[in-house]
Amino acid sequence: MESLVSILYMIAVFAFAYGIRMMRSPKTAKQGNVISLIGMLLGLLGSLIQPLPLGDNNYLWIVMSMFIGSAIGLPLAQKVKMTAMPQLVAMFNGLGGASATVIGIVELLNINAQTPFSSKFISVLALLIGAISFTGSILAYLKLEGKLRKQWVVPGHNALNLLLLVIMFGLGILIATGTNGIGWPLWVMLALSLFYGVFFVFPIGGADMPVVISLLNSLTGLSAAAAGGIYGNKAMLIGGILVGASGTILTLMMCQAMNRSLWNVILAGKFTAGSGASSNGTDQVMKEITKPDAAILMQYSKNVLVIPGYGLAVSQAQKIVKEMDDLLGGVDVSVKYAIHPVAGRMPGHMNVLLAEADVPYEKLLDLDDANAALKNTDVVLIIGANDVVNPSANDDPGSPIYGMPILNALDAKHVIVMKRGRGAGYSGIENPLFYHDKTKLYFGDAKASLNEIIAELKENL
């Protein structure tokens, strides 16, 4: 029996690892999730049949609890709107942490003189980390739900941060060296941990939230591992560590993608625009998109409309855009081109380029056709165009280009803009499109950027 349980646990651990491995590609990810789930079920089975010295009681309680948990969790997951998923994940994560905290409390309540230091210490860890993750996650949930918009930093935040950590750790040692778990140190530590989660997440907001959630996620994993340590349960231990390790790495990767350090996110404790996101002096911000996201966005859309401009000509990216077109065509994404009459620097500039790249003429839409098509377009990819997509021409009578017909990129569902930086177009004026909520910027020379997209596409296909 015992060895069967061990094997079940072992399968669970490797199912978790293999499940994560399959997250590598959209094609296998769903299956990976199922494998991971099977691992979890086997793990649960193991814990139900594992021989215990005092075991085999209270199955009714277990079944009931599991039923209640499922009854709560499943509808939540199924009814949530797509856009609200991140906060739900945060919430679930918090509950996992809470679960570890509860286990930690119970185990500390149960200690006696024989309990070794290491057991007690590990219980303290489960409690402490779980509690931080719990309140932190719930706060993250509230923030993402928009129920809490403030970000506030107390003076001396960093010093306080350190102090709190020291006190909590000290109390933990105190408890672990004591022989009686129950007592004020336990409750104080619990309270402090719960507070620390809030304290730690409160100042963070905006674009940094995903990083924090990932971090909290890895904390929950560690608390689960600690809880596993209490029972010497390998599935919990290794599974938890896998989550903790991968969560930490994921956090670092996300920071890297934002061009910031983790400390910058946590300690600076306030939202500072990364070097990537640009702002135009006022409070408007250009939002960036990452390579894989741009690639996947296009790959999983029904149609893409490319709006080429002078920048395409400057970077001589016409052949590369055709290659991207071919790749997308291969997965049934329809790609067309919207040619504005004055795009580029001479009449027919875009025509010359796209003909050179052998783009079939049927794929070129002129202004009117393009504007009609834009309404049903999933993704519009603007490559080095500026004036010809500047909405000021429609709605700002003071603009020098007011009255010029433009391509209404904002009619599409998603807008991606490729340009090198904050350069203006021929008319030398600001373009509000770039600061629009719907618009995502992809900075870099158009040719290089398209090459990156192609590399991503090739990897995914």
Partner: protein, 350 residues
């Protein structure tokens, strides 16, 4: 309201098309077109028939708005005359127009801003001219444009030098590139470098050019020192070239004489020069307007209206430009000139 289209003696094209006639009808305008002496094929395609032809006298008599490309000495009852009068080059025309009892508007005076590009006849005609200049040169040149490595021998690609990379020059760069030639282009405006490169051409740099962004896209006269340097550099590039296409113009002045006798003498016999600035004097010392001459073995084609060799498309585009302008000034079946509008203000010359 009636809109009468007059022919211009030295131009083949007409500023009107079937499509535009239809659109004008929608705005309440009837279009009359001067009857030609002999019907040519492409005009039938342009108008879809001879229905709109009336005598010139009738047009002058009945029209509310006159439309032509060039000016001619006529008496008319029309109240508006829209043309391409080039007041900078022909101040005397401007004077005569002022003496008439009508409002004269000149398409070439429309400012070259993004919004007005759809009315810019200079651009649409220059674009055709650039394209045709290359075809003309390729047809005259006694060798291939593209490189060819064949069993009968290897042929090096032709070298094309484009002087003045404005609208026409850029189109020439693009077309020559398509045909497989090696392209170099030269201009005094520095912004042009990137533009030439964006079409696959190489830009020839001469240091010290004056470039005034305030001049609205037009080039300015250069210093003597610069002209000197330019001569040196160009002499070298031109000696290598099989084809030179010149388009350099200065608004309201004679075109700069960029290609000197020395340069032409250094060129290979059989080379071809197409000079699109012929009407304002030409960019070479030998250019004759509307004529082809051979000097020192080099064929020099002087033609400022190359767009007329592609009359159907040229007329259609011209007509569209005109319509886009008319649309701006037609309000409820009548013509209303809003002088606050920069475009209308600049176009109105009397």
């Amino acid at each position: 309201m009636k809109l009468g289209v007059l022919r211009t003696t030295d131009r083949e094209i007409l500023p009107m098309s079937k499509k535009v006639i239809g659109k004008l009808a929608g705005l309440g305008f009837e279009v009359l077109i001067e009857r030609p002496e002999e019907v040519v094929q492409w005009e039938l395609t342009l108008f879809g028939g001879t229905d709109y032809y009336v005598d010139k006298a009738t047009i002058l008599e009945q029209s509310d708005v006159l439309l032509s490309i060039g000016y001619q000495d006529v008496q008319t009852k029309a109240k508006y005359w829209l043309g391409e009068f080039q007041p900078f080059n022909f101040p005397e025309v401007e004077e005569k127009l002022k003496s008439l009892d009508l409002v004269a508007m000149s398409m070439d005076m429309i400012p070259r801003i993004s919004r007005a590009q759809s009315m810019d006849v200079l651009s649409s005609m220059a674009s055709i001219a650039g394209y045709k200049a290359v075809l003309e040169a390729a047809n005259q040149l006694p060798q291939y444009f593209p490189m060819m490595i064949t069993a009968a021998g290897s042929i090096r690609p032709a070298k094309v030098l484009v002087v003045g990379a404005g609208v026409a020059g850029l189109q020439a760069v693009a077309t020559a590139k398509r045909l497989g030639a090696i392209i170099e282009a030269f201009d005094t405006r520095t912004a042009v470098k990137e533009e030439v490169e964006s079409l696959g051409g190489k830009f020839v740099e001469v240091e010290g050019a004056r470039d005034e962004s305030s001049s609205g896209g037009y080039a300015v006269e250069q210093t003597e020192e610069y002209k000197q340097k330019q001569q040196e550099v160009l002499a070298k590039r031109a000696g290598d070239a099989d084809v030179i296409i010149t388009t350099a113009q200065l608004r309201g002045r004679p075109a700069p004489k960029i290609i000197s006798q020395a340069i032409i003498e250094s060129m290979k016999p059989g080379s071809v020069i197409v000079d699109l600035a012929a009407s304002t004097g030409g960019n070479t010392v030998f250019t004759e307007n509307n004529a082809t001459v051979v000097k020192h073995g080099v064929t020099i084609i002087g033609n400022s209206n190359l767009s007329d060799t592609m009359p159907l498309t040229a007329s259609e585009l011209y007509a569209n430009n005109v319509f886009n302008y008319l649309e701006l000034i037609i309000k409820e079946q009548d013509i209303v000139l809003n002088m606050e509008d920069e475009i209308i203000k600049s176009a109105t010359i009397s």
